[in-house]
């Protein structure tokens, strides 16, 4: 079954006809040529396909495109202001928070979404007091970023980069 949908990605409106089986990730990558979100595991386990979906970080490999008609999506490529990188992107470069770089767009979007969640006072699994203030310690950053795997093992520098960007 084919369905026409509209998506707004990094500010650009798109209209396309998708088979109902198409994921949001495949719609972006294969149909719209938007390759910033990466396909890692394709099962929601690695986080490489993370974008900001209607303002919140979300994986796109387990989302059906047809169910997200009208969605507003921001990818890592859409976070920079022209040549000026988003502070998270710059911090990852400054701290060598990547090696091969395949997971990086997902890490960037996840970090941006995560910082907004922390800013809003959302606790995490490692927050001692569920109703207290949130302080982004290294333990908190690691827990909140646990949905993004890095096969190169750049975790220590990813945490350092986010710690730096928080300041």
């Amino acid at each position: 079954m084919d369905v026409e949908i509209g998506l707004r990605v990094d500010g650009e409106p798109h209209r396309l006809v998708v088979d109902t089986r198409t994921t949001l990730l495949d719609a972006m990558r294969e149909r719209l040529g938007i390759t910033s979100p990466k396909k890692g595991c394709d099962h929601g386990q690695c986080g490489a396909c993370t974008v900001l979906l209607d303002g919140r970080r979300a994986t796109t490999c387990l989302a059906l495109a047809v169910a997200h008609d009208g969605a507003e999506i921001v990818t890592a490529a859409g976070l920079a202001d022209g040549e000026r990188l988003h502070p998270i992107q710059q911090a990852l470069l400054d701290h060598d928070g990547l090696q091969c770089g395949y997971c990086t767009p997902g890490q960037v979007c996840s970090a941006v979404g995560m910082l907004a969640e922390a800013e809003a006072g959302w606790p995490s699994h490692v927050t001692a007091d569920l109703s207290g203030a949130v302080e982004l310690t290294d333990e908190e950053i690691a827990e909140r970023m646990s949905g993004n795997l890095c096969r190169c093992g750049a975790y220590a520098n990813i945490v350092a980069a986010i710690r730096e960007a928080v300041r």
């Binding site: 079954m1 369905v3 088979d19 109902t20 089986r21 994921t23 394709d42 099962h43 929601g44 986080g47 993370t50 979906l53 919140r56 970080r57 979300a58 994986t59 387990l62 989302a63 059906l64 047809v66 169910a67 996840s110 979404g113 995560m114 969640e117 809003a120 006072g121 959302w122 606790p123 995490s124 699994h125 927050t127 569920l130 109703s131 690691a142 827990e143 909140r144 970023m145 646990s146 949905g147 993004n148």
Partner: protein, 330 residues
């Protein structure tokens, strides 16, 4: 993936009627489990009815002091809700221990409850599995089963239920509101889930086409002193080997009332009623906690490679109750 039709549900009644009338139809929430199953071939619906936009996204007070959680409230929003954090911390803690930030942001309350086991054979269509294909056999019995059940299993299925939220809701005695073609019904969550017996293809008692619309939490003042402890192979983003949801009411060193439920040990979230009975009126001491845990686990029947879960469950029950009662004493 076989082709399927897609409909965005206009209202509950028509969504329920549509799915009920079509044996191959399924409800779609966020899809974080179902879309994976479509890819794996575990599920092959011919129609998805998307209920994620139905107006069940509220957390509201109930007459009598309880709280109603709408079926489409996202896991993140439920976990951080101020009322849930303050009055039912075990619910927040359970949710925050599950999945990842990006999955919790989309996954729904009802979808969390309806997610299916992560038994590797259930998810691998090349292997026998009675839950996926009734009568084909259970590959886990003699295969990989260190994550599997120690309580209430059958020779037909030794899978465990994966939800953390459901364990907290079971400890609380939550009630699930369901809509079907014959009308609405309320199902205590303890009765929603089934043991496998000889029909492990049914995780719950829901009929095809019945839709969860809300989950009601009872007033239960003691739940303000509650928590969820999860033991797993890695520190984050993993399913439970064993988990414990507990609430306790202690007065002058004596347990007045207690709720305990276990995750990762059975086909359903396991309400530890024997442990609760042993604890009511008992001193709030490690010895009493251990005796209660052992009473509950006396019925455990571990498999070849998961006997470690019995002492792990005992120790986790003791540690959880100790944590709560240490906090309890002023």
């Amino acid at each position: 993936m076989i082709p399927f039709d897609y409909q965005r549900a206009e209202d509950t009644r028509s969504a329920v009627a549509t799915v009920t009338a079509r044996p191959g139809a399924a409800f779609l929430g966020a899809g974080t489990n179902l879309v994976d199953h479509l890819k794996l071939g575990v599920a092959a619906p011919d129609l998805l009815v998307d209920v994620s936009h139905l107006p069940f996204d509220m957390i509201e007070p109930l007459a009598g002091g309880g709280v109603r959680i709408g079926a489409t409230v996202r896991n993140s929003d439920l976990a951080v809700d101020p009322v849930i954090r303050q009055r039912y911390p075990m619910v927040s803690a359970a949710l925050l221990s599950g999945a990842s930030g990006q999955l919790r942001n989309v996954a729904t309350t009802a979808g969390n409850l309806m997610q299916r086991t992560r038994c590797p054979y259930f998810q691998d269509v090349t292997t026998p599995c009675n839950k996926r294909r009734p009568g084909s056999g259970c590959s886990a019995l003699e295969g990989y089963h260190r994550d599997h059940a120690i309580l209430g299993a059958s020779r037909h299925c030794v899978a465990v239920h994966p939800s953390d939220l459901a364990v907290a809701l079971t400890a609380l005695g939550a009630v699930v509101q369901v809509e079907g073609v014959k009308g609405a019904r309320s199902i205590p969550i303890i009765d929603l889930y089934r043991l496998p017996d000889d029909a492990p293809q049914h995780d719950t008692v829901l009929e095809h086409g019945e839709l969860i619309t809300a989950v009601d939490l009872p007033a239960l003042p003691m739940a303000t002193r509650s928590t969820y402890r999860k033991v797993r192979d890695r520190a984050s983003y993993a399913f439970a080997l064993v988990s414990v949801a507990a609430a306790v009411d202690v007065e002058r060193g004596t347990v007045r009332d207690v709720r305990v439920a276990l995750g990762g040990v059975a086909h359903k979230p396991w309400r530890a009623r024997r442990a609760e009975e042993a604890l009511r009126g008992a001193p709030a001491t490690d010895d009493a906690f251990r005796a209660a845990a052992e009473a509950e686990l006396a019925g455990a029947r571990p498999l070849r490679d998961n006997a470690f879960k019995v002492p792990m469950a005992r120790n986790t029950i003791v540690a959880t109750l100790r944590e709560l009662t240490r906090r309890e004493e002023p």
